[in-house]
């Protein structure tokens, strides 16, 4: 008995002591560094991850749009646009950390994956594909870095106290953690050069596009798609050579703009024009633009676009008017509505216009009907259809506060229709379409045509195509207006008689075409016109006893900006940590 006990005790003790060390070292269910960095495919996931930051940015873009005269959110006041904007508040502050994070990841990829020569696919047989994919990722790395730098430049670029135009601190590698608090800003021009240089590397390494234009019944289609060479259609959504060209044009236009080109250096406009021209030439000339379809996943006008999950309907469910079972979140302003020309292309205040203020929604530019839900609207698309019961934004109407959904209404009399698919949320119908695909476009051809027109107008006016250019500014703008159905366009001819009118027309076209992309806020800044925008207005519609309507313009929110708003403040907290950082003028 005693012996047994002793033996038992000893065994237990020994078991414990020997088991202890391995007990504490048990395998842990993490993804280890080696599992990522030593796998040819997973290691490339580092770059794939960056795309997350740039896809489906609709609601972020809307947030930026609320700072302009284009619209408001229906549930909350806008604070920064109404009079005070302090150095500690910048809704785009996140760009600072996000961009530097992505630049760091790019260098992480180049140092830890690309430079080690790790093949994408391990087998000898697939070396060809492997090399092509590695080259593509190298190009993507530089494009994504340039995109991060472009966002930094766009948001934080500006003059210091003494007027020197600065960009952002260029980081060309991975530094010690403490070193990031000693960075100082490079000049604006150095930053532009850096972005251009990165994009040149991207262009050298990327396929110009991923659209292998094969006819569907071509027996080779399957084979090409199955080839999995990493360069085919299944990769659209990744950066392409054309996207790199387009970004160069965008950066150059920004740099040539009045707020950043203080001396109005004409060579900057020339560069912007010629880079936009490059995009057009690379794309095969000044093609006609495709119709607006945000559920179309293979639209060739989308130079860089990412698509969302095909079952996502968050835009529709948040933006539809109440009677379509939405929350009516985005309310475009009367100011924007007034910017749409009449059906023949004349501005509504032009003497030749056929606009009638008593029936303001008849005979308008086709884009108005595509982009805006208005009182009496009953249509997605064409002008004489009945897709849904007439929208009622008049006082006491079903789509106003106290109506169909009492707490949902519009502050301006309008709802945003742009981007939305024709879905049916009516719960009483059983077989209804409640989801359709949705793409998000970061770089589009429309933007390039408008940039081309804007830059070329500054060099040679509306009608002339200088040496090296095949199309005039007017030619480019014509393509944009033609898509809106303006094939006979007397007003375009009228405005093209002088650069100033033409510039105004381009600005207005930009406002309409790129509304609710977040672009207008930055356009207003670079044009130095943010200080002169009007207060944001809406319309109060009264239904008369004879079923006609009366329209009364109302002020919805003030819009007050100061000259310092041409530029945005650097993050306040970052300035406290890094005394080498200079703040932009006026902040």
């Amino acid at each position: 008995m005693k012996l047994t006990n002793k033996v038992l005790t000893t065994i237990i003790l020994v078991l414990c002591l020997s088991g202890c060390s391995s007990f504490l070292d048990e395998d842990i269910q993490y993804t280890h560094e080696e599992e990522v960095l030593e796998s040819g495919r997973r290691s490339r996931g580092l770059l794939d991850d960056i795309y997350r930051d740039y896809s489906f940015r609709y609601f972020t873009d809307f947030g930026i749009e609320y700072l302009t005269d284009n619209g408001v959110i229906n549930s909350s006041e806008t604070n920064l646009a109404t009079g005070y904007w302090g150095p500690t508040s910048n809704p785009l502050n996140y760009v600072w950390q996000q961009s530097y994070n992505n630049i760091r990841v790019v260098y992480q990829y180049i140092d830890l994956v690309h430079n080690t020569g790790l093949p994408y696919l391990p087998s000898e047989a697939s070396a060809g594909i492997s090399d092509a994919v590695i080259q593509r990722y190298y190009g993507e790395a530089h494009f994504l870095k340039a995109w991060a730098e472009w966002e930094l430049l766009k948001v934080f670029g500006g003059p210091n106290e003494s007027g020197t135009m600065l960009g952002f601190p260029i980081v060309d590698g991975i530094l010690e953690n403490d070193a990031y608090a000693t960075l100082s800003r490079n000049t604006f021009d150095e930053c532009v050069d850096q972005i251009m240089a990165d994009l040149d590397v991207a262009i050298d390494n990327l396929p110009i596009d991923y659209n292998i234009n094969v006819i569907n019944d071509n027996p080779l289609t399957e084979e090409i798609n199955e080839s999995n060479d990493g360069l085919n259609r299944s990769e659209t959504g990744r950066a392409s050579g054309l996207a790199a060209y387009a970004l160069k044009a965008k950066v150059a236009l920004f740099a040539a703009s009045p707020a950043f080109n203080i001396t109005n250096d004409i060579t900057k406009w020339e560069l912007a024009a010629s880079l936009a021209n490059d995009v057009i030439e690379q794309n095969g000339g000044l093609k006609s633009l495709q119709t607006y379809d945000f559920d179309r996943e293979n639209n060739p006008d989308h130079i860089w676009r990412m698509r969302n999950s095909r079952s996502n309907n968050s835009l529709e469910s948040r933006l539809y008017p109440p009677t379509l079972y939405g929350q009516g979140e985005v309310n475009p302003s009367q100011n924007l509505v007034d910017a749409f020309p009449d059906s023949r292309g004349y501005p509504i205040n032009n003497t030749s216009s056929n606009y009638d203020a008593t029936v303001p929604y008849t005979s308008r530019d086709s884009r108005f009907y595509k982009f805006i839900f208005y009182n009496g609207d009953e249509c997605f698309g064409s002008a004489n259809c009945t897709d849904y019961t007439s929208i009622e934004t008049f006082e006491g109407g079903a789509d106003n506060f106290g109506g169909f959904i009492p707490n949902e209404g519009t502050r301006t009399g309008y709802y945003l229709k742009k981007y939305l698919n024709n879905l049916n949320f009516d719960p009483s119908e059983e077989d209804r379409v409640t989801t359709l695909p949705k793409v998000y476009v970061q770089l589009g051809l429309t933007d390039i045509y408008l940039s081309y027109a804007e830059a070329l107008n500054e060099i040679s006016g509306p009608n002339t195509a200088p040496a090296g250019f095949n199309f005039s500014a007017k030619d480019a703008l014509e393509r944009v207006r033609q898509r809106a159905g303006l094939f006979l366009d007397p007003y375009l001819d009228e405005a093209a008689t002088n650069s100033d009118d033409f510039r105004d027309l381009i600005k207005n076209e930009r406002r309409i075409e790129l509304c609710f992309t977040g672009e207008r806020f930055h356009d207003l800044r670079r044009w130095k016109s943010i200080t002169s925008i009007e207060d944001l207005e809406g319309v109060e519609i009264t239904k008369n006893s004879d079923d006609t309507f009366s329209y009364n313009t109302i002020e919805v929110e003030r819009r007050i900006f100061e000259p310092k708003n041409y530029y945005l403040p650097l993050p306040y907290d970052e300035l406290q940590l890094n005394k080498n950082l200079e703040q932009n003028q006026g902040w």
Binding site: Y30, G45, G83, I103, R238
Partner: protein, 934 residues
Amino acid sequence: MKLTITEIKVFIFCLLNMLVINISIAQNNTLLNALIVQDSLQKGNDDILTTPFGIFNLSKTTGSVFRISGDVLRQTSGDHVYEALRGRVPGLRITRTSNTPGANGYSISLNGGSPTILVDGYPVGLQVDLREVKEVIVFTDATFNSILGNLGDNGLIYIVTKGGKLGKPTVEVNYHSTLNSATRLPRLLSASEYATVINRASNNDGFGNVYSAEAIAAYNNGSDPIRFPNVDRQETYLDKTSQSNYASLNVYGGQDNVSYSAFVAYSDWEGLENVDEGDIDGRNITFRTKINTKVSDMIEARASIYGKFRENKRPVIGPGTTFSLISNTPANAFPLKVGDTAYVVSNQFRSNLLSELEGGGIYTEYDAALVFNVAIDVNLNKYVPGLKYSTHGMIRTSNGKVLLTNNRPGLYTIENLQDSNNQDSLALKVQAFDALDLTVGRTGADADIRKTFTYGGYLNYSKKMDQSTLDINLNHFLFYEPNINASQPDNRNLTFNLNASYALQDKYMLYANLNTSTSSKFIGNNRTNFFPTAGIAWVASNEDFLKDSKTIDFLKFRASYGEIGTEYTAETFYYLNTWGGGINSNTIYLGDANTTQSEDFGYRVGNIANEAIDWIVYDQFFAGVQLSMFKKLSLDINYFNIDINNQVTRASALFADALGGDTFLPQINFTDRNNQGFNANIMFNDNIGDFKYYLNVNAGYNKITGETIAEIPYPDEYRLQQGDPEDNFIGYVSDGLFTAENIGSALPQFGDVQIGDIKYVDQNGDNVIDSRDRRAVGNTTPRFNYGINLGFEYKNFNLDVVGMGVGGYDVNLSGRSYYTHYGLGTYFASVNSNLPNGNANPRLSTTQSINNYVNSDYWLVDGSHFRISNLELGYTLPKNLMDKSIFSNVKLFLRGSNLALFSKFDDLDVEDLSAGAFEYPMMKSFVLGFSMDF
């Protein structure tokens, strides 16, 4: 009454079975002939506590020990130990976090930290029933905190369960029945009141009336309940009271070589919902069986099994949703039903609670928790007098399964249509088709079973000398908790302790412990660390000069100092580079083919390794005095000063954001904090003839300050938090509301401000209100808590009252929808009165004001409150009556809990401001019951 006849039968059957089994085991073992060592026994003046970590003499300890008997705790109704401890222990603050019947939630804090619960010495969580508790011992100071190492950083609550008593079997029967009702429910608006408020908000923004005067009149007179409904939701859905029942049986005893105990208890509960199908209805059965047998002169074996089985039936929508729907659906939203079958909703309020309760389906949870213990004690007296060895193991498992049928009756909206005669008529339009779930769903896989394993043992040596005693323990303890989530590592800890206590002439006491803690969360030399502790005590009343004092009966001074190491709480191993993403990262879709990305898509750094990551060290200093005077008054005070050093953080505030995401910064031992405070207990008892009475007051105070913290070096000094309390509430300082007089001089702040918006103070005088003007304006955790216990005994009657309170903290209302009013959605009656702090409601608007809802002192309310948490009026049958019966003790009692609450809040319970509004209300209970011992 909740007990059906079948349930009672099953219950009695279970009880009998258990008794039979236990008694048969006991009888089998009577053949052996030896004595059983008790769990805790008196040896002369010594009070010995046998734990899985060693044997401790509590009478000669240098530590702070607060003890409270199970009988006192059982003056509370129900079966929850935390409920019973409320207001009873100095420095122990117990806050209710959930009041759902059958799922009581509490948060618990001892001297500002979170204590460890030990049941008979095992860290199994609160796997114990109030009715089996023999005693609760609260150890607060460094002497004991060191023994569990990592697990005991903030004090121990050591619960001793009944059993292990020798002698003839004791049988205890306890039954009580409880009627519960809500202490407070939010004030809701009637249909016309609601419509009036909506019109006010809408008119403020220039949108005109949403509801016409005729509609408001119709709501008031109830002439058309279909078109103009006025539904009192609280009355519609809630009963005034709900019932719960508690019954238990405890049998324990022992003879010669075997002792046993069997405990079994039953509890049931129901909800307040007055719809039968949708009422919460649950019960649980708890049991614990212990058996100790003496195998030989040297060896004694102990085993115990604890189990708790719970069944709870509720509607598929959880109780939180039930109460949110009651509170958030306006009275005029819709009539509940049209005809017998059509449930109605509106386009704005799309859920009908009645349809959910009546036809939404049933959700039944089954939970089981089991704890198995075995131990072998080896008495080595024969070889070395006073030497003992004990080894033990424990397995704890818990899991849950859910059966559910999720149904939804069809829902309709009421539409106004014009019929063929152009007359208005009402029509029902489908809002949601009915969905019937014909299958019974089942959740909870076998892999979800949670398990904890411990294995440990100790070697104890006790020696009693003429003038002194010496106790030495050497113990090891292994703790292993596999994680059920594949992405998280397991908890693995190993602790060794060597401690010795020495007492000389019952006057001078010394104690020292050397703890070695090992944790898998560290690597290299940091994995194992040494943490020493020492204690000293002096019993002055045993000195000659006080020995014969008439005033001072007992006086003891004690102090302890120790280092206690704990791990970081995160599940990630900070010494490893870890990566995340990849699998199921379906957030981006490339291509125009309908392919999702492979699992190789999208990887990013999750954590940068820091191999130097080290233990968080608590430097604990405790000093205390224990004093008894006049045989009536006793006093126990503890002061503590705890430095919490090397807390783990990324310190990202010290690094530029230009380095990228915080994940590029390793976790480092950086933050230092200090926790200072005291706890105290004063007891006075006396009698006037047969009238015995007592008054007991306990209190605890503490403040945790950040000594070294990572923060941005702001130039405005008032923004810096180093050296300030860690629970500071940072916000703007308000200066009333804007009026017509001062709106003109409004500084730029958040958007366009109007009359009735909150005005803020420009702290730095730069003529703008921005984040630089924020500073500490309050604090969010109570600085002090206290309890008052008083009562008397007269003849056979007793009355005992427990009150408890907390103070010194602020409650922020700005995020609480009951107190913030905007939009055209839900409103509460609080919109028509001032905030609990007396401030007026800011401007009412249909849009959310950014200015008014930023954090500021405008929304802070003093959270101090005091409640009478428990009261018992009891009658014990006279002794002479008992002597003739089989009973040894019979007591009848009436109890009440949560009888009164005093605070600045009139509508809601400040202890849990969601209670009643968005989750189950706090309950007031009235109890009738008896206990019998025989």
